[in-house]
Subunit: 201 residues, 2 copies
């Protein structure tokens, strides 16, 4: 017989989604990886992420803006079709940039920036965005919650400083696992700690 | 005859409250001012704040935590009965501190920190907090909105990344002007820009 605590936890988990906080990070093309780390170089996995196939790589880059630099920023793998630098708005102020809030992959009006590693430098003509808060859904979970890809939902963060974040975009793919992704401005504004969960409102 | 735009603006302003974002800052006692800036020194006003009698001073201090330092942090005047250092949670991570979220003046479990200025150093046994999001109300505005001092309200931020921030505390005093105060984690999570307003929900 299941005990009561286990049942309560299973019900809560069925009604809510885990929140993860994304720190600043970089996605690189194969060409960019070679430009920064040398010919033939490929990203090396050191830790898997919650999204299937995605990983934190051993490679790190300095992100250099007109007013400030972040050293040793994580590069997430695998390599992508476009270079993309995701920062919080607080980070953007430090860099001296005013990037738009965009879904991953949407680089309209994104900002230029310089990447450095190992004495090599790569100037990106664009690519810096503030990632719009979003929820990755498996198709099954999207159906369960009644949301479709691209839909904007309200997200109640069941956190230490609770808040409802409007304009959270649902992204649905059979390549995804179901997780909420906030940046650290949002996570800290909500008092998020690892394991906290949210629900759609 | 008033024109339509003016009337609309007046109605919106009557139903909403201006949001201000507070950067990291320090409040000092007279004794702390003298310890850091010399015997007999008093804080010098350079710019008034929205709250009557409060001001940004010419004096700046370095805030030194176990993991990081912020140089030239604003000291707000006038002098207070207790030293208090208000930071965002992002700032707290940089400093290497885990301060509690507290109302101004409530220093239970607040963190120790070191202040430096002009080659002088002052170690505070406590005083670092993350200021709880709050709304200053005049007694007349509190009555209009039906809130009492200390009440927690939901705050809808009518901002670029709209959000409802729960646990926003109402503070009522005849010494206040009516303004919403967020820290920069909250302001950036909401996409706040100067002039944005919020309403109680």
């Amino acid at each position: 017989m299941a005990n009561r605590e286990e049942i309560v936890k299973a019900v809560v988990n069925a009604l809510t989604i885990e929140i993860e906080a994304s720190g600043r990070h970089v996605h690189l093309t194969k060409e960019a990886v070679e430009a920064l780390f040398g010919p033939g170089h490929r990203l090396t996995e050191v830790r898997p992420l919650s999204q299937p196939g995605q990983f934190v790589s051993a490679e790190r880059v300095d992100v250099v803006g007109p007013k400030g630099t972040f050293a040793n920023v994580a590069v997430l793998g695998p390599e992508r079709k476009e270079n993309q630098v995701e920062v919080s708005r607080t980070d953007a102020v430090t860099l001296g940039l005013k990037p738009p809030v965009r879904q991953s992959g949407d680089l309209r009006d994104s900002c230029p920036v310089t990447l450095r590693a190992n004495g090599r430098e790569l100037k990106l003509a664009n690519g810096v965005i503030i990632a719009q808060r979003h929820i990755h859904f498996t198709p099954a979970d999207a159906a369960k919650y009644g949301v479709v890809d691209g839909q904007q939902v309200g997200l109640k963060c069941l956190t230490g400083r609770p808040a409802v974040l409007m304009d959270t975009v649902a992204r649905v793919s059979d390549k995804f696992a179901t997780y909420i992704h906030l940046d650290y401005d949002e996570a800290n504004a909500c008092g998020w700690v690892k394991g906290d969960r949210g629900r759609l409102v």
